[in-house]
């Protein structure tokens, strides 16, 4: 069975701090996709990144970066120099064979 664990329920930081959101996944399959989504207070899920299981290169997009490590089944997300607008719930998700599983989410609060 597939499973995604986001152990951090809530994180609070002060603006300009760096923050890392952890994501650990479980799957027996070799071909799968990992995603991160942001859910701001408005409620609409916003796509951030997709990564397939054969591409372990880390990715950077502006202040966002992702660290994919198959050896530890982790796909962590780092926000550098956090801003108040980054406050949201962030979800990690795993897709395989038409089955999409989301983690429980991490609520990030960035204080001014």
């Amino acid at each position: 069975a597939q499973k995604v664990t986001q152990a951090q329920t809530e994180i609070s930081v002060v603006e300009k701090e760096d923050v890392t959101l952890d994501c650990v996944y479980e799957t027996r399959d070799t071909t799968y996709y990992l995603f991160w989504y942001k859910q701001p207070p408005s409620g609409e899920l916003v796509f951030l990144i997709r990564r397939n299981s054969f591409d372990e290169q880390n990715e950077i997009s502006g202040r966002y970066s992702w660290n994919f490590q198959k050896s530890t089944s982790s796909f962590n997300f780092t926000i550098t120099a956090s801003q108040v607008v980054d406050s949201a719930v962030y979800f990690c998700a795993l897709w395989h064979n038409n089955d999409m599983r989301f983690g429980a989410g991490t609520r990030l609060t960035v204080k001014p």
């Binding site: 995604v4 996709y33 995603f35 989504y37 408005s42 409620g43 609409e44 899920l45 916003v46 796509f47 997709r50 397939n52 979800f91 998700a93 897709w95 038409n98 089955d99 999409m100 599983r101 989301f102 983690g103 429980a104 989410g105």
Partner: protein
């Protein structure tokens, strides 16, 4: 480009009543998904359509939930009869295909009293 549209945005019903939600995906997206998101949890996939055919509905409570996607575009999700535990946000998403990123609508917040 227009995003995923859903209606209504909010619905309050009594238990044992029926309710229906509507979704219009992004134009050209073959795959459509319905999720249930209970407060404080991540979305749970209920059903996935590829064009107008069901790809996976293993987590859909078929004794009370039904969904259809006629003509491979719009979709409706119905609950009949509703239970208190059905209170949740129902999200619709679409994608070009199953492996691609999904784009979500604003959701329908259902309250069953």
């Amino acid at each position: 480009e227009a995003g995923v549209a859903q209606s209504p945005r909010y619905k309050i019903i009594e238990k044992r009543q029926s309710v229906a939600f509507w979704c219009n995906p992004i134009s050209g997206h073959a795959t459509l998904y319905w999720y249930q998101q209970i407060l404080g949890q991540g979305p749970k996939l209920l059903i996935q359509f590829q064009n107008n055919g069901v790809v996976d509905d293993s987590q859909l409570p078929k004794d009370r939930f039904s969904a259809e996607r006629l003509k491979g575009v719009d979709s409706t999700l119905k609950i009949q009869p509703a239970k208190l535990e059905d209170s949740a946000v129902y999200l619709c998403a679409s994608s070009l295909a199953g492996v691609y990123e999904q784009y979500f609508g604003p959701g329908t917040r259902l309250t069953v009293t």
